[in-house]
Subunit: 245 residues, 2 copies
């Protein structure tokens, strides 16, 4: 089963969390995860639906932040790069995540799709207006932002204080858990990102990523169906390898 197929087939199983898109007719996962259905309907009415190709930039650091996006299908990668080419990947976004809400006038990082993806795009001013008119939604968004901050904190622990093995194990578990929360398939887990992107997420090199994944495989902790799909065999071992809580 290809990565793309894996990522698309969640459609069938999101049931209660899904809403039918009035434009394309497809069921889509969306903001309803965070919002009441009524508000979600209202918000959705303000959105332009975007169909994005695989490995397509959504925006780049420094671009004027005209739009806010809500990812509804596929995976997007956020990163920041230094002028000499060093890159840090900040996270891999899943359906339901907001992208590009900025305090200032410009985007602070790069956003690029890893897979084909769909997103709802809002004019910044329109989005702000909606939040003004629906304080309940603003508070909800604020809680989502707080969750993102907690996620960033876990990532900082990973980058600052974990070993290579702990980083890779934590990365796999985190991706699996987040996929699970959003009712995406978690077994086998899709890894649409390259080794280079895993390296830039974990603060390691591609060689180290490859070696650690290889070691997890020979230790029978995971199986690599392909380079872009992992099956967790020994969950307990993987959790142990991710380090103490």
């Amino acid at each position: 089963m290809t990565t793309t197929a894996l990522l698309h087939d969640f459609c069938a199983r999101r049931g209660d969390l899904a809403a039918r898109c009035r434009h394309c007719g497809a069921r889509e996962f969306n903001i309803c995860q965070a919002l009441d259905p009524g508000l979600q309907e209202k918000l959705f009415a303000l959105a332009l639906r975007l169909q994005l190709g695989k490995r397509e930039p959504v925006f780049a650091a420094g671009d004027p932040a005209h739009y806010v996006y809500n990812l509804t299908e596929g995976m997007v990668c956020l990163s920041r790069s230094l002028a000499d080419g060093r890159r840090q990947i900040l996270g891999f976004l899943l359906p339901g995540d907001f992208i590009g809400f900025e305090a200032g006038e410009t985007h602070r990082c790069d956003a690029e799709t890893l897979t084909e993806a769909k997103a709802c795009r809002f004019e910044r001013a329109v989005f702000d207006g909606f939040l003004q008119d629906n304080p309940e939604t603003a508070l909800r968004l604020l809680r989502m932002a707080s969750s993102e901050l907690a996620q960033a904190a876990r990532h900082e622990v990973l980058l600052g204080r974990k070993t290579a093995v702990e980083r890779i194990a934590s990365f796999l578990l985190d991706l699996r858990d987040r996929s699970g929360e959003r009712h995406l398939r978690t077994q086998p887990l899709a890894l649409p990102m390259t080794r280079s992107e895993i390296a830039d997420y974990t603060g390691l090199t591609i060689e180290t990523v490859s070696r650690v994944l290889g070691r997890l495989r020979t230790d029978k902790v995971i199986e690599l169906a392909s380079t872009s799909a992992v099956r967790v065999i020994d969950e307990a071992a993987l959790e142990r390898m991710a380090g103490p809580a």
Copy 2:
């Protein structure tokens, strides 16, 4: 000049950004940085003023998140620790920062003062209610959260992709810039945190922190008035050492 003195003497210079506390009469830096004066007054009316000692815990990871705080004086350190004692410091907070706004029911990290400090404390429900009634404030808070996320992103780059020298130089410049934004004294810059805390912020060891600071001193890039106060001598050099943008 002691660290505490350095941290307190900003009072005299915050002028336009300050409001007089109706309880203790002291001028204090506060939420007005982010809010209109009218709203700030209303919000302040809901707060309990807290006087905190040096190195006093504000809350710990896992504690029920009953309160939201706004730091008005002093410095607070946010951190997360692993069960084996490894610690990652997420940031050093300055007057004006909010602390403890959570998506869930409990705090996700530890918060401890580095200096004597003052804070406004809000009941969570009261705070939420205020945001409901003042959508403009909620939007403002959302922008502040977005700034924090951007700060976290810079920290992730530091932890994942920078060398020891770049980390220390970046840390010093960041602290200086943020102090400047809040009209705190930046020369000499107060470092109320220990080497161990700098190490846990930068993902290094105390020995490496000490060596790098020593090297910056012998290279005449900084002067160490004491272990807890730095004067930047060669700003351009420090910026070069912080790595490419």
